[in-house]
Symmetry: D2
């Protein structure tokens, strides 16, 4: 590669920010130029994590990082901050928040309090990003869409029962993320009222019944999707992901599990049939911080930059 593209990460001290930095550091074509964090501004990189070495620049404020002139900006911010962000010049911007995911004005206002702009939704295997302003999908939406989008023309409805590790809720301190509430527990939340539901519906073209559950695990997400269909869905899934190095359709009879996708940017998909009720069950497992956030963000940036799509991603390894 002739030269590297420079990168600024805004909100670098959060989970998705740190994971994005992790991929950028492993990426031969990206160079970290500015690390933004309003809480760590002025401190050295290793104040975030002692594994970060001395060659990295010290933290800036998010505003300073935004103005750094980087070729690529990753917005690892809250919805409100991301919504208020003004894209500088012609940089590639990947927004990992939900602020720019909904295209329908009413829905965008209802769920995120923002107006949709010139952003394109970027889920590379299904809905490749168009242009430099990219709305990175939600973690739940990614799993549900990987399972359902390839078969969306032969189904009319779906139930999505999803389970996620606690890092999906971010690093901010909430009673529901307190370890005393999470350990040895399982709890459904935002039942029928989670904002990834309209995002899934937008991309599928019909609403789904979506219920997330909080798992007592640090990372990983599994979506069990139930659909009625007489068609054989396997060819549709295999065709959709045949070219992918990221999404693997498992052989018949094998179920996805978190352990094989944790700390990676890969996803696993499996298809089962329940004969008694004529239900197809499509299950997707991924890491909410990998394919569900930072890995997909870098994948989207690669596409926008014209690089090989999986450069810098965590796709190798057979860790126990």
């Amino acid at each position: 590669m002739a030269s590297s593209a420079t990168v600024a990460i805004l909100g670098c001290a959060g989970y998705t920010g740190q994971e994005t930095l992790d991929r950028v550091l492993a990426h031969p074509g990206l160079e970290p130029l500015a690390l933004g964090s309003d809480t760590l501004a002025g401190q050295p990189a290793w104040a975030l994590d002692p594994r970060l070495d001395g060659d990295l620049p010290e933290f800036l404020t998010n505003a300073e990082a935004a103005a750094s002139g980087a070729d690529v900006l990753f917005l690892c911010l809250g919805h409100e901050e991301a919504a208020a962000f003004e894209p500088p010049g012609d940089a590639v911007v990947v927004d990992l928040s939900g602020a720019h995911r909904l295209c329908d004005a009413a829905a965008a206002v209802e769920w995120y309090g923002v107006s949709p702009g010139a952003w394109s939704y970027g889920l590379p295997e299904l809905f490749p990003p168009q242009g430099p302003l990219i709305a990175n999908p939600g973690c739940y939406a990614t799993a549900a869409l990987l399972a359902l989008a390839p078969v969306r023309h032969v189904i009319a409805s779906a139930v999505v029962d999803a389970k996620s590790g606690v890092s999906g809720a971010g690093k901010s301190l909430k009673a529901s993320s307190h370890a005393g509430s999470v350990l040895e527990n399982l709890a459904p939340y935002a039942v029928g009222a989670h904002r990834h539901a309209p995002e899934i519906a937008q991309q599928l073209g019909f609403p789904v019944c979506f219920v997330p559950h909080l798992l007592p695990v640090r990372r990983g997400l599994l979506a069990t999707c139930y659909v009625r269909s007489d068609a054989d869905l396997r060819p549709l899934l295999e065709e959709a992901y045949a070219p992918s190095h990221v999404v693997r359709v498992l052989p018949e009879g094998m179920a996805p599990e978190l352990a094989r996708v944790q700390a990676t940017d890969a996803a696993e998909i499996a298809l089962f049939h329940d004969r008694a009720t004529g239900t197809a069950i499509v299950i997707c497992a991924l890491d909410n911080l990998g394919k569900g956030a930072a890995g997909q963000a870098v994948q989207n940036a690669n596409i926008a930059l014209g690089l090989e799509e999986t450069t810098g991603l965590r796709l190798q390894g057979v860790l126990v």
Copy 2:
């Protein structure tokens, strides 16, 4: 109480056996007469657990315990052993295995390899036991039926997405129960092929699509059930459980969670509606070893003995 009924527990060293013993020891009307365990036979009670004191009889073989003349026998055995068991005289027998749950001869043979006999299914709040030979429901079936049976006349199908702690799979050593496979993991299993599915169908009158998932928790089970119905299901649920001290219908908007039912014999049920798809979501949480096994077994025995139904059950307490 004039005098206590004597109890024999067969398979006392397994999870359900130990939990049954726990309830029997707390029960003012039951007296442990014989503790059966083919692996611990001849050893003192505290060989199972140092918390058991010296007044308990030493372990017998299961055959000896069966012949002890006890008034009540709890069968905490594998399906095959339970199927081969010959009920002695007029004792009350509660079978915690699946051997006697299916009434249809073909189904019983297909799923458990046994012929159904003169056993009645005993889920006290919904299907009270009839007579002294009682098939105690499966843990998953209990949760699904508590959620769905009260509304079964207004629905025609259901998806049951269930999640259980590892004790539901018993104490025997299996690769899938190895902590290295369970910790920080989540895995669906027996997708569309679990033997609690025909049990649920038998009691509801129609098949359900049932997918269990193994959670990284020691105990506790949550079933998220999805049904299509235009009826308002809340009155049906509240009416069904109004008299119960075991099953609690939560106030609107509150979701069940494992932490509040673990180590108890209680169950929590909640109802939600997904407006976008017209789906009712009925969620049930219970402890797979409590209401899902030993607690319900003692509840069934109480009914058969004419005792107050909840005597000896773990229903108090507001542990963190």
Copy 3:
């Protein structure tokens, strides 16, 4: 019992408050009169937990609860609030915070910023409370003292390596209690600088080297204590706990574990010898919220009220 003593719990919405309420509800001689919580004041009891029924009084402010005229007050407050508390009349007051544990004025000021008053330290098996104002020991201190106090006259120093579940750090929101920091992790903290160290030293008569570690479990605490001694320590331990229904000295060769003491007010102690180095290893397991907090608080209150010491405690059961 002629009549019940009335109880006020201040700080009832925290972990120790809720656990204290749990014991009070199971106690035949105590009656909950006032539930104090500045955050829940004015709300019904079940706002804390849906398992609490409608017969309980609604929440008051802590100041109102303190002025309720109850016979017994449990202070489940932060150190500062407890230090500022003025004991009303002749009530029995059990302070579960650290505010009144240190007798040495300099130490009390250094570690808690308070002056010691007319409070007595109450660890029933070893240091029974004297009078109605009782400082309930810290959870770590309880475990270390149960292991070491019976042998303190034949040892001169000790290493206490302790491991605790996250509920020991309370319900308040801290980065170190966020589930993303706790799950699948282990971290030492406050190394050589924890305020339970001077508390242990005060009761033993010599300092110990104390290092706590945060475990990825909800509840339970284990202290592994290392001492040099040529004496046989087993008779000292067995003698100390022979009369106790709370502390069990395990048979030779059996190690304590969290699972057997969780959700109970009991403690397990074991003694091992390392021949290679001449080290005695005394291990104590207990529940940080049980014997380490609420269980011991009720035990202390029972003593002050002249009741049987273990009334209302969670000492039964052989849960898996």
Copy 4:
């Protein structure tokens, strides 16, 4: 690199075998030639893990893999099998079992039932391997030695309180590795009687008091070591690891934790002082399957092959 060295892994289906394969696949100078597993012989590589692609050779028996003519053999076998292994020709052999770790004949027979042979102990930062037959250190021993060996000339004894995830006990099915025994639990085991104790003593030159505890985590190991010394130990530790890219001495006041070393081949070390007792506390965290097993095995092989020591190791990344 002119050409790659070929590799055979015996016992490839166990935890350490799979992790060794993981590093070999990422290693530019090693090529997997033979995957040995007596249970998977004849099956394709992806029978172990669906993430393994079709280019890998199918499984052989361990005997076939041993005879494959590979340049490097990794023995991921039980102690007995490894002890019986005959090194072929002049291959580099790294034994991940304990069979060849103890040099003293009596100790080797007592703890492993084998006679020591021409194997050298290989802990690269402290005791680099000598020659092609390398005994890879135990996971606990690695952590204890990384903490203590640099200061061994100024101390005379130590207490090593160690905590490990369950993968340290291997994949074989044991009651103590059943998830029902591990989850939400903590248990010391082999107290004063673990075979890593003589291994640590052999390398230090004096015995230590060693107590391991089983943690409810999948992977990761932390050793808290207590020593008496008036010397300032920090310069000794920093000097020992200044050249290392594997072992990091943390800045003063920062404690190691599992989360930062899991799934890596790195180790973290910290030093604290307890003023009250004059105790130095040296804490080491590593991944029992990484620096504690497979990572160190590849590091040792690199040295024996004359390659850069850290090639193929997992040392990058700042995962949450």
